[in-house]
């Protein structure tokens, strides 16, 4: 059997490991699979536009920050493709999929046949319609921050004196800001000098100071994961590092050297980074009729609405267990598990991934943030010396939480959200103060710690 995977990132790796795990599994019917075509071990081909060995995309900010390097960024060891017997076609772009002929056509016109196809093509930066913004040739130049190439290009452009404007205070924009911080002149990023650079053309030319300014349309930082109070804590922490925010303030226009915000503020910059969200790469499948919402709709085994075509990762939606809604859960663990389930299913072993939910773990300049589940409904807030915790409840279950500060053992909360264990079954007041297994009934705890047989 020939399995073709479009993409070479987290979901693709999950799929490769899923395929090979399925083939090793006792539940796998090798004979049946062999009859389906071409032996008991699938021929796997990965086709991807990027030339790099599979790397961890979220690590590009750590690379910019100097906390990792290209070798350590590799998501899997150097022999990954060899030991999994994967043929790679890197630096190649798929132009179209022919579901009748069961081939994919590359940009150079060559075709690759498949028996099963996985779209694991991720997403691309969304570029908002801002006046003056465009490709280098016909508009103001800008950076995006999603790939290793993006990070290298940005790093090459940065100087100690750079005044950087980032559009978007989401996860990507803020991690990018953290990575950039290291490159700017020491002491430049204290609040005062950063403010000065915002005085517009008066403070420019020779005496200009390095700065990082962030403009965000939403009224708070990290609007997709934080509530108002926690966002204020994070914002204050980031401002202490010298970041300057313009919140609730979209960028109206740019000209290559300065931007004008919705409220009329002018921000001069040397480097512009657009971090306004992403667009799933779904066109290869939508143009041949695959069912889609914001991304490709799949079953919990990754099957799209088209025969023998699967999708996983940031280009596929998941059923969010916390509220039963289908949505794009663009987080790395989800991409891996979707990919793994799709890989197993392509190899003939259905093991649905039914635990998709939002879980975010992120830190900025030493301040950690952990969020999971749904942030709506009835809630309670605990403010302690070690930070901020807000718990959200739905139908007497923990539906989600936001933590800023001490996230130690917060996986116990995540497990409560995922398992939908009724709050009454545990000592929630105890666990809310400090995550611990002592909050569980002894029988449940023994089962958790020792397995059912003990």
């Amino acid at each position: 059997m020939r399995i073709v995977i479009i993409g070479n990132s987290t979901a693709a790796v999950g799929a490769v490991e899923g395929i090979r795990a399925a083939e090793r599994s006792n539940a796998f019917d090798a004979e049946k699979q062999a009859k389906a075509g071409g032996g008991s071990s699938a021929e796997i081909t990965i086709i991807a536009g990027e030339r790099e060995h599979t790397y961890s995309r979220p690590l590009i900010s750590y690379l910019l920050e100097g906390k990792t390097d290209e070798e350590r960024m590799k998501y899997r060891p150097n022999d990954f493709y060899t030991i999994n017997n994967v043929k790679t076609m890197l630096g190649r772009t798929v132009a179209s999929v022919d579901p009748k002929a069961k081939t994919v056509t590359l940009e150079d016109g060559s075709t690759v046949p498949y028996d099963k196809l996985l779209l694991a093509a991720g997403s691309r930066p969304f570029i908002p319609p801002i006046a003056g913004l465009g490709a280098a040739s016909d508009g103001a130049e800008y950076h995006t921050f999603q790939s290793l190439a993006d990070a290298k290009k940005l790093e090459a452009a940065l100087t100690e004196q750079s005044r950087v404007l980032i559009i978007g205070a989401g996860l990507i924009g803020l991690k990018c800001a953290e990575g950039i911080g290291r490159h700017l002149k020491e002491d430049a990023l204290n609040g005062d000098s950063a403010e000065i650079s915002l005085l517009g053309n008066k403070a420019l030319s020779e005496n200009r100071a390095a700065s990082i300014t962030i403009a965000e349309f939403a009224p708070r930082v990290l609007p997709s994961i934080l509530d108002e109070d926690s966002a204020a804590i994070v914002q204050s922490h980031l401002e202490k590092q010298g970041l300057v925010f313009h919140l609730g303030n979209a960028v109206s226009s740019v000209d290559g050297h300065s931007a004008v915000l919705a409220d009329g503020t002018r921000v001069d910059y040397d480097i512009l980074v657009v971090a306004s969200g992403v667009k799933p790469n779904i066109e290869l499948l939508t143009e041949i009729g695959a069912k889609s919402g914001r991304a490709i709709i799949t079953d919990p085994c990754g099957r799209s609405s088209l025969p023998d075509i699967f999708a996983a990762g940031d280009c596929a939606e998941s059923l969010d267990v916390t509220d039963g809604e289908s949505r794009v859960l663009a987080i790395l663990p989800n991409a891996y598990l979707q990919g793994r389930a799709a890989g197993k299913a392509m190899a003939g072993l259905d093991e649905p991934f039914t635990e998709a939910m939002p879980v975010n773990s992120i830190g900025f300049f030493g301040l950690h943030i952990g969020t999971a589940g749904a942030a709506k409904g009835e809630s309670s807030v605990i403010k302690t010396e070690s930070g901020y915790r807000r718990f959200f409840f739905a139908e007497k279950r923990l539906a989600g939480f936001i933590i800023v500060g001490d996230v130690n053992r917060a996986g116990i909360y995540t497990a409560l959200v995922r398992s939908k264990l009724p709050i009454d079954a545990i000592d929630f007041d105890l666990v809310a103060k400090k995550p611990q297994l002592a909050a569980f009934a002894p029988k449940e705890r023994r089962k958790m710690l020792n397995g059912e047989t003990v």
Binding site: L59, K67, P333, V359
Partner: protein, 151 residues
């Protein structure tokens, strides 16, 4: 494979497992040198529950390892059933901390995170992990058994 199991009915809450864990992972040859004046941050933690019940919690080496599946760097891997951490690759994003249902991966000083690796990575001489080897009441045992099921 052999795993760490805990018997809360035998645990006397002495916390010796925590000290032996800290010693085993200290890189020191002498326990007194390793622990003198040190606030330990062990990979096994004794919890106190209602009614004087105590028990130790450390990595269960789950068959469905949410930490390794969700690790953004590939630093957490399963080798022969044991969940191992490549400290060199880890960047301390704490995704694993957010995913472990036991709270068994914790922040660490001097390195991004820490977890029990059954004393396979720390050069401890015993075949039995140090916590189990030195538990005075056999409340921590290292034996063949089922994979725990988390939550």
């Amino acid at each position: 494979m052999k795993r760490i199991y805990v018997r809360e009915e035998w645990c006397i809450g002495c916390h010796l497992c925590e000290y032996y864990c800290a010693f085993a992972n200290s890189g020191e040859d002498d326990m007194a040198d390793a622990l003198r004046g040190v606030k330990i941050n062990p990979r096994i933690q004794v919890e106190d529950a209602d009614g004087g019940v105590t028990y130790a919690v450390s990595c269960r080496h789950c068959e469905k390892p949410r930490c390794a599946e969700g690790c953004i760097t590939g630093a957490l891997t399963v080798i022969d059933g044991v969940i191992r951490l490549d400290e060199d690759k880890c960047v301390g994003c704490y995704t694993c901390i957010m995913l472990c249902p036991y709270g068994a991966i914790t922040p660490s000083k001097g390195k991004p995170v820490q977890k029990c690796e059954l004393c396979l990575s720390n050069g401890a001489p015993d075949a039995t992990p140090s916590c189990a080897a030195h538990c005075p009441n056999r409340a921590i045992v290292f034996e063949e058994g089922a994979s725990p099921c988390g939550l």
